[in-house]
Amino acid sequence: MSDFPLFPAQASTIAWQVDALYAFLLVLTVIFCLLVFGMVIIFAIKYRRRSEDEQPEQTHGNLVLELSWTIVPLFLALFVFLLGADVFFRLQRSPSDPLEIYAVGKQWMWKIQHESGKREINTLHVPKGQPVRLTMTSEDVIHDFFIPAFRVKNDVLPGRYTTLWFEATQTGEFHLFCAEYCGTQHSGMIGKVIVLEPADYHDWLMGASSGESMVEAGERQFQQLGCETCHKSTATGRGPSLVGIYDKPVTLSNGQEVVVDSDYIRESILQPTAKIVAGYEPIMPIFEGQISEQSLLQIASYIKSLSESAE
């Protein structure tokens, strides 16, 4: 049958590794099943009751057997654990300098924005052969970004950023699903991932309605919201300067040290009093409920760009 697939497309650098591990486990499973089923069926036939008053000889157990079926599965299990952990590490650590793309989930659609400013809904265009990292958040409930052909998936949480990375190895169209149940139209929260040759991706990005880039949009809002009245580019403002801070540690008024990342920036905008930088007053207004998740991502990109140009 033509439409009777058994394996999904293998379209990312990690996919074959997951499949290889899966195949290995399948082999182990088949061996164990044959062993157990074989034992049960053969014994049941060979030692079937031949007369009603048959009384088999009793045994109580056998320590060697017990130890072997404790220790062998234990070592096999630990071996599989290590293999799985190894693949997991690679799934979690993106290579340096990936192409950054941003996704916001809401009931029941995916809103995607590329750094150039290009937006799309329920479709994700990516180039082939280049690591892509998605930074994701949700406007309402928990969603989950799932691309079976790439063997990647991660929950998309409200109030927090999560990331996911992949490198596509095949051009074409692939399924995108929301995998975490999110309400009525959960099964409609689906889309397409379109993998293009890098040149085609570039053309697509530059295509119609590009408008301002994410950094530009972030900078515009930074000014409109009045952030820059306090956060000046030199350390003279009433708030700390935001130049060169991204990915660096900062000391808080309680002596704690935290690293500035998108989650920290997001929290500092929405709930400024949660963490106060040492040497500053808790005077920043609370922006909770006034800025959309997309704008937050844009402002974070802008703040991040202040660190890139400062280097």
């Binding site: 009777f4 069926i41 109580h60 952990a85 929950d155 099964s187 409609g188």
Partner: protein, 555 residues
């Protein structure tokens, strides 16, 4: 043995001791309470099965055309809630455990008969809330009630259903307490811990989880109700809560709860396999302690449900590591059961066919659990049909098969009637074949990437879904057949002898059905569990009384 005779000339037993609806509804007899549970559970099972059939019929076509998306979501939620909380968790413990624990340890009842009746009514009350929630319009959060969807966004009857599960939780806790005290304090003279049938060990481990785990989920669900009512900000980030906190608290109970839904199955299998192979269970103490190991380790692995939830990489590694450990006691059990058949005298009566089905399906279920514990693979498989197939293999293939196994084995004891063995063999074949046809294709669908809880799906997956629906039909036929011939036996079945399967164990030394107070004289136990092949040893003896006294001091 009983010489008393009831009004119509039959020997007195717990069924004809007293008559009338009140004598049942207010009974303190553990055996009658077991029967009450059986009847109520059966109703929930039928309701849950109806939801399941509607789900499967919807999925025959890729488009969502049979019911609306909202209805579909309510169907799978109510299927899960009813089946897990109101059928599977109570199934074996509340029916067979209640009926058999006192009989097997040589006691006249459980430690707290009134508490036992209260447990039953808490279960009924919890069930009533759930049924009310269903009738008023249903609930659509999934049986896992993930926040903030359940706490803020869902407009269905979430709180009502949660209160139902909450109240039902107390039934489970009280049953656990009752069983633990009973097993500690009520054993007949000479019935030392290592002379107990493994049925008792399995229930002891289960009770431990029920007592320690259930309070946590009860509080968690109550917090969701509070957040819905008062917006207090525990789980919803809009009010300063943490959405993932719920998952930690929920799975802290619900992972151990999956063992509440299998250890009693193990308990039944051990007893039945010994009987139909006429042998002691191979490696008795390994099987006994592996239940306890599973119960304890089960509390340390909840994070394997959160590998893609944003949980830290290292936490995931630890949870995965411990999960692999738990596979070992599971393997120990499977091998010991299989080896019990070595040089045995195996008879393939219907309860034994259920044992074989159980071993096959549970082995597959357990091994696929290892795929899900493997970090790199679970990222792909989480929240797909692979998980659905996995837990149906363990819960239906394992526990429901185990329940049916035990029901067939002890049916003559409980009802005093024999069912038709031919029909029973046919039933088990239907259930086994139907089950595999339903759920095996779901492993493939899951690896292909079909997410669970989807009302509509891409066309290329239709063939596998049709197979699954066809399987569900066969499975349904199997269950219906079983219900029919069991009911039939109540009226037309032959009278059951005291010990139709030549099994060993105190419950088989008394008439079927037992008398109201179980034993004319409390037996004195001088033999090991499963004394198959030792004809003389089951004769009651008078020596071992001091053992009991010693035991009492240490417990």
């Amino acid at each position: 043995m009983s010489h008393a005779v009831s009004a119509n000339g039959e020997p007195r037993n717990y069924l004809n001791e007293t008559y009338g609806i009140k004598s049942w509804l207010l009974t303190l007899d553990h055996k009658r309470i077991g029967i009450l549970y059986l009847i109520t559970l059966a109703v929930f099972f039928l309701v849950g099965s109806m939801f399941a059939s509607l789900i499967r019929f919807e999925l025959m076509t890729p488009k969502g055309d049979l019911v609306e998306a909202e209805t579909y979501n309510k169907l799978f939620t109510m299927h899960g809630v009813v089946m897990i909380f109101f059928f599977l968790i109570p199934s074996i413990p509340a029916v067979l455990g209640n009926f058999l624990i006192p009989l097997q340890i040589g006691a006249r009842d459980v430690a707290f008969p009134r508490l036992n009746l209260l447990s039953y009514y808490l279960y009924v009350a919890g069930g009533a809330f759930a049924v009310l929630a269903i009738i008023m319009g249903g609930i659509d959060t999934g049986w896992t009630f993930y926040t903030p969807y359940s706490s803020t966004y869902s407009t269905s009857f979430v709180s009502l259903a949660l209160v139902g599960v909450f109240v039902n939780g107390f039934s489970s806790i009280l049953t656990g307490v009752n069983f633990m005290v009973t097993i500690h304090k009520m054993r007949a003279p000479g019935m030392t811990w290592f002379r107990l049938p493994l049925f008792i060990w399995g229930h002891y481990a289960t009770s431990l989880i029920q007592v320690l785990g259930t309070p946590v989920v009860a509080i968690t669900l109550l917090l969701v109700c509070f957040e819905r009512a008062f917006k207090i900000g525990i789980f919803d980030p809009n009010y300063g809560g943490d959405p993932v906190l719920f998952q930690h608290m929920f799975w802290f109970y619900s992972h151990p709860a999956v063992y509440i839904m299998i250890l009693p199955g193990f308990a039944v299998i051990s007893d039945v396999i010994a009987c139909f192979s006429r042998k002691r269970v191979f490696g008795y103490s390994f099987v006994a302690f592996s239940s306890l190991a599973i119960a304890v380790l089960g509390f340390l692995v909840w994070g394997h449900h959160l590998f893609v939830s944003g949980q830290s990489t290292y936490a995931s590694m630890v949870f995965s590591f411990i999960t692999f450990f738990i596979a070992v006691p599971t393997a120990i059990k499977i091998f010991n059961w299989s080896f019990t058949l070595h040089k045995a005298s195996v008879k393939l009566d219907s309860p034994m066919l259920y044992v074989m089905g159980f071993i096959g399906l549970f082995t597959i279920g357990g091994l696929t659990g290892l795929f899900l514990s493997t970090l790199g693979i679970d990222v792909h498989l989480h929240d797909t049909y692979f998980v659905v197939a996995h837990f149906h293999y363990v819960m239906v293939g394992g526990m429901v098969m185990g329940f049916l196994c035990g029901l067939h084995f002890w049916w003559p004891k409980m009802t005093g009637r024999m069912y038709s063995e031919g029909a029973a063999k046919l039933g088990v074949m239907f259930v086994f074949a139907g089950f595999n046809l339903t759920f095996f294709p779901q492993f493939i669908l899951g690896y292909l990437g079909m997410p669970r809880r989807y009302h509509a799906y891409p066309e290329e997956w239709q063939a596998l879904n049709i197979m699954s629906t066809a399987g569900a039909t066969v499975l349904g036929l199997g269950f219906s057949l079983t219900i029919v011939y069991l009911l039939w036996s109540l009226f037309k079945g032959e009278k059951a002898p005291a010990n139709p399967f030549q099994a060993k164990g105190l419950e088989w030394d008394i008439p079927s059905p037992p008398i109201a107070h179980n034993f004319e004289a409390i037996p004195i136990v001088t033999w090991e569990a499963y004394p198959y092949g030792e004809e003389e040893s089951t004769e009651p003896s008078t020596e071992a009384v001091p053992e009991r006294a010693k035991e009492d001091e240490v417990v």
